[in-house]
């Protein structure tokens, strides 16, 4: 392979068009990449090829292929910078397969910043690689829907109607189901059970602290979260207030851009970041709280994302410095609200964007341990992603499914009464492959219940308790192939 063979066509896709800077043609100094933040040669050279990151990489765990490992991907970046390979489907496929779980960042003894590297590569691929038509359309559809709470609500109402109408049962009974393309099956199966009443719930703009005010915090209500997990938002606000926080949730806030950013849709992500910074500008809060791991990690990255924008660089850095996951904030505050017992064995699942991307592992456990009666247990192989990863389980349903089943097997091995995780994506993903009924919570929901004096785990255990509708009891075998055979 020589540098001469690297010609590639530049993408002409309108919905991916760049608003930041026109893409220079490849091959002018950064190999395949243009000069708008190519993956840094210095960061690439930090990798000493030791392989310590291999065992925690979910795609390496699945396929055992070097080019789908962190070390291999970094090597491909290096080859890309040298212009020694072509930017074709083969090349792009290995970056598309990366879940962005950042387990490799945790594992690397040399401190290789794979997070920065992959975040530099993805927008480059979006700019310079034209995906196949069906892939482009599917991605465009996902991004036309998910980050828009208004549209999502409509979709959720339709979804609820569909789930109740019997059309779903019909579809599942016949062979029709298996005729749906994988990705549509994934969308269908991942659709959370919509509860119509709650779809209308909105977080109040200001919630006063209970008792003495200890903090004034901004609250990110999230796009998917707001629609499908309004309960978690309500619980978050109640807990924060009970612990002495005045909670400000500006109505005008929109999607934070996390989904776009993780998919390399840089212009879209930047626009969303700027807007959110503007919305919170006038709130004068001590901290900005997120209860979704994926959103929180992106909010903490705003400073870096907007580093080239003179009008926003400094404000973005200040904004990022204030961002806390809800468990971080709660762990900082000495508990004041009395806790009541919640009895049971709780498996805590580290969401990658909380554990690996934000390094927040101890705090959610510590917060959960303030609840009397609750035994908090770790899950074996905790560092491996469950396959949810933003929109990954929609665009890569095959590997996402294998990882989901693998995770469920590990959760089953600790025989929990309930599961807690701080990311709705993980929750949907694990529920999709769970063989029976398992109550699942955001940690803050359990804390809220404990403060309010109810025991949701016991309630779920009681006959007629919180049960999953029969259609959600999956026909999937919980056990995957043979152990160790991934």
């Amino acid at each position: 392979m020589t540098a001469g063979e690297t010609g590639h066509e530049t993408s002409r896709d309108e919905d991916l068009r760049l608003t930041v800077a026109p893409p220079p043609a490849g091959g002018d100094g950064a190999g395949l990449f243009d000069l708008h933040h190519p993956p840094s040669a210095e960061l690439i050279s930090d990798c000493v090829h030791c392989g310590f990151c291999l065992p925690t990489c979910p795609t390496y765990a699945l396929w055992g292929e070097e080019m789908d490992s962190p070390r291999g991907r970094i090597y491909l970046m290096k080859l890309g910078r040298e212009g020694a390979v072509a930017l074709d489907d083969t090349y792009v496929q290995h970056f598309d397969a990366c879940l962005g779980c950042m387990a490799c960042v945790t594992a690397c003894p040399s401190g290789v910043q794979y997070d920065k590297l992959i975040e530099a590569v993805r927008p480059q691929l979006e700019r310079h690689h034209r995906r196949e038509r069906h892939d482009r359309l599917f991605r465009a559809a996902v991004f036309a829907l998910f980050p828009h709470p208004g549209r999502l609500r409509v979709a959720a109402v339709l979804g609820a109607a569909y789930q109740r109408s019997g059309a779903r049962r019909l579809l599942h009974r016949g062979r029709l189901w298996s005729l749906l393309p994988d990705r549509l099956q994934a969308v269908e199966e991942l659709m959370p059970p919509a509860r119509l009443r709650r779809l209308a719930a909105r977080t109040p703009e200001v919630t006063p602290a209970v008792g003495t005010r200890r903090r004034r915090v901004g609250f990110l209500t999230g796009c998917v979260q707001r629609v499908f997990f309004a309960d978690v938002n309500a619980a978050t606000v109640r807990v924060l207030a009970a612990e002495g926080c005045e909670v400000v949730a500006p109505r005008a806030q929109r999607c934070c851009g996390a989904l776009s950013e993780h998919a390399g849709r840089e212009p879209e992500a930047l626009a969303r970041a700027r807007r959110l910074i503007d919305v919170f500008a006038a709130t004068d809060v001590d901290a900005i709280v997120a209860n979704v791991a994926g959103c929180g990690s992106t909010l903490k990255e705003y400073g870096r994302l907007l580093r080239d924008d003179p009008a926003y660089a400094e404000r973005a850095a200040d904004f990022s410095a204030k961002v806390r996951d809800v468990s971080e904030l709660l762990a900082e505050l000495e508990p004041v609200a009395p806790r009541h017992p919640v009895e049971g064995r709780l498996a805590y699942h580290d969401a990658c964007h909380l554990g690996h991307a934000q390094g927040v592992r101890a705090q959610p456990r510590a917060v959960l341990r303030t609840i009397p009666g609750l035994q908090v247990t770790d899950i074996p192989e905790a560092e491996i992603c469950c396959g949810s990863a933003g929109i990954y389980n929609l665009v890569q349903p095959g590997p996402a499914g294998e990882l989901g089943r693998r995770k469920v097997e590990k959760v089953l091995s600790v025989a929990p009464d309930a599961l807690a995780t701080a990311n709705p994506g993980c929750l949907l993903q694990i529920r999709r492959y769970w063989p029976g009924d398992l109550p699942m919570f955001h940690p803050v929901e359990l804390l809220d219940a404990s403060i309010r004096g109810v025991d949701p785990i016991a309630a779920a255990r009681a006959p007629g308790g919180r049960r999953r509708p029969p259609w959600l009891r999956r026909r999937h075998e919980a056990r995957t192939a043979e152990p160790g055979r991934f």
Partner: protein, 502 residues
């Protein structure tokens, strides 16, 4: 300086002439199924080196078989067409053992990672070669058992690679190397036959072919199943870190511990640079700026361990230790080891590039050898970090350099080579556990005379008459090393443009 013996030259096979043709590729695809084949140029390039990135060769094909039968079928095709093959585990080797051969194929074992059976009562397990070293211990941990050899790379390196390199680790001082913990192998010979070597009993009748394959660095065939011996977790484990003002004192402490009849589970030494890198990587609590730290671990029966632990502390004090830190609980112990085990991989924190060396010296020469290494490092104007298994005199000097500075890589390589040769002069060996591979083949005559090399060549020719199994590794040849083998020549494949340096 030795020259080659005539018989040795006769035993060296011609370089394999087979090529990966379309027909060969189609046959291989049939043998392993389409998912097991990697053919795209960009993908193949990710297999072009192992942990020693200085040598790189792109293979013509990578095959990822899933069963012993698939491996055998692929090897039979190689034998039929004379196509060279190289087995690869996790590619963490530090001597270029898994470096592909141009026009040859790589047989990757990364998909063969099942623990096939665990026999708790007899303390044995049968595993596939792609299971990681730490994976074995994890699989048997519920039975309070573990696999003793513990290379620092244990979370990632495979048992197949461990068998090939006869790998060791910190705890091999007391428990021995991989060879002491492998009972039997299922082995695919270079012509594609599947044979059993060794047996369930520790001492089988007849010549021990299992032992011949152990440490043969993938040059005799492919290991596809391994019966490993498991140990019961010791009743008590005690660990301390003792700081010393200089390496000489630390070295003397090690000698005194051994002389006192104590067999520690592990004795490791780190110098100031190594401590710096570890602390930056994992904050294991070593004292920054300390010129030499010893990690000493004792394990066994509680009463004995307690008594000996006292005596070890006493010996450290007698050798002027400046500080002793005793791990208070299993978590702290884990942290101490995490630091030690991250040492090589953490070098990226203090240097853009490094060469890891692997030499052995008699334990009594520790202090003086370290002083020599320091002088050599100063002369060469390059930093050398030292991390090593002090208990058995296995040094791992890490020569730090910056590949971006012209000429520095070569200077570093010369220094690294000079350091191993120093080890041989001191009565030691050119490799303790990382193997000879591509890296040290030309240094072999430093240590072995013509007769030794001839015997090795005979063994190899008996297993692999065609010379298709990991050719160009371990044994020096005129083609690789010139007519009079010596370590200071540039690699001829490099001169010919077949391989390149980073």
């Amino acid at each position: 300086m030795t020259t080659y013996a005539g018989e040795y030259l006769d035993l060296l096979p011609e370089p394999p002439a087979g090529r990966v043709t379309a027909a060969f590729r189609a046959d291989v695809a049939r043998a392993v199924g389409p998912g097991g084949l990697i053919t795209e140029p960009a993908q193949l390039r990710t297999y072009e080196c192992d942990g020693l990135t200085g040598y790189r060769v792109t293979p013509a094909l990578v095959v990822l078989p899933a069963t012993t039968e698939e491996v055998a079928a692929v090897v039979r095709l190689c034998a039929r067409d004379g196509v060279p093959f190289v087995a690869r585990g996790a590619g963490t080797g530090l001597s270029g053992g898994a470096l592909p051969v141009a026009d040859g194929i790589v047989i990757g074992l990364a998909r063969m990672r099942a623990v096939l059976s665990v026999d708790v009562d007899d303390q044995r397990a049968v595993v596939q070669p792609g299971v990681t070293n730490a994976g074995i211990s994890a699989a048997v941990a519920p039975h309070d058992l573990y696999f003793a050899p513990d290379p620092s790379s244990q979370v990632v390196c495979t048992i197949g690679g461990n068998v090939a390199e006869n790998s060791g680790g910190a705890h091999c001082l007391k428990y021995g190397f991989t060879t002491n913990h492998v009972l039997a192998l299922t082995f695919v010979t270079a012509d594609g036959d599947v044979v059993q070597l060794g047996g369930d009993a520790p001492d089988p009748v007849g010549p021990d072919l299992r032992a011949v394959v152990l440490g043969s660095e993938g040059t005799l065939g492919v290991v596809t199943e391994i019966t490993v011996r498991l140990l019961r977790r010791p009743e008590a484990v005690r660990t301390l870190v003792a700081d010393f003002a200089d390496a000489e004192d630390a070295g003397n402490a090690v000698s005194d511990i051994v002389a006192a009849g104590i067999v520690p589970a592990a004795v490791e030494m780190l110098d100031e640079l190594a401590i710096d890198a570890c602390e930056r990587a994992v904050q294991a609590g070593y004292t920054p700026g300390c010129p030499a730290a010893l990690v000493v671990e004792l394990d066994g029966v509680a009463a004995e361990v307690e008594d000996e632990f006292e005596r070890v502390q006493e010996i450290c004090r007698r050798n002027r230790t400046t500080h002793v830190r005793i791990a208070a609980d299993p978590e702290e112990r884990a942290r101490v080891w995490k630091g030690r085990k991250a040492a090589f991989a953490a070098m990226g924190r203090i240097s853009p590039d490094y060469f890891v060396q692997d030499g052995v010296i008699p334990r009594t020469r520790l202090g003086s050898t370290l002083t020599r290494i320091r002088q050599m490092s100063e002369q060469a104007g390059l930093r050398v970090a030292n991390v090593f298994h002090a208990g058995d005199g296995n040094l791992h000097p890490l020569v730090l350099y910056d590949g971006a500075v012209p000429g520095e890589a070569e200077r570093a390589e010369h220094l690294a080579t000079a350091i191993v040769e120093l080890c041989v002069e001191q009565g030691g060996s050119i490799t303790g556990e990382h193997g000879v591979g591509s890296d040290k083949a030309c240094s072999m005559p430093k240590m072995f005379g013509p007769d030794d090399l001839t015997v090795m060549a005979r063994v190899r020719a008996a297993f692999d008459p065609q010379g298709i199994c990991n050719p160009g590794k371990v044994l020096p040849t005129p083609r690789l090393c010139g007519e009079r083998p010596g370590p200071h020549r540039p690699h001829p494949l490099e001169a010919a443009g077949v391989i390149e340096r980073l």
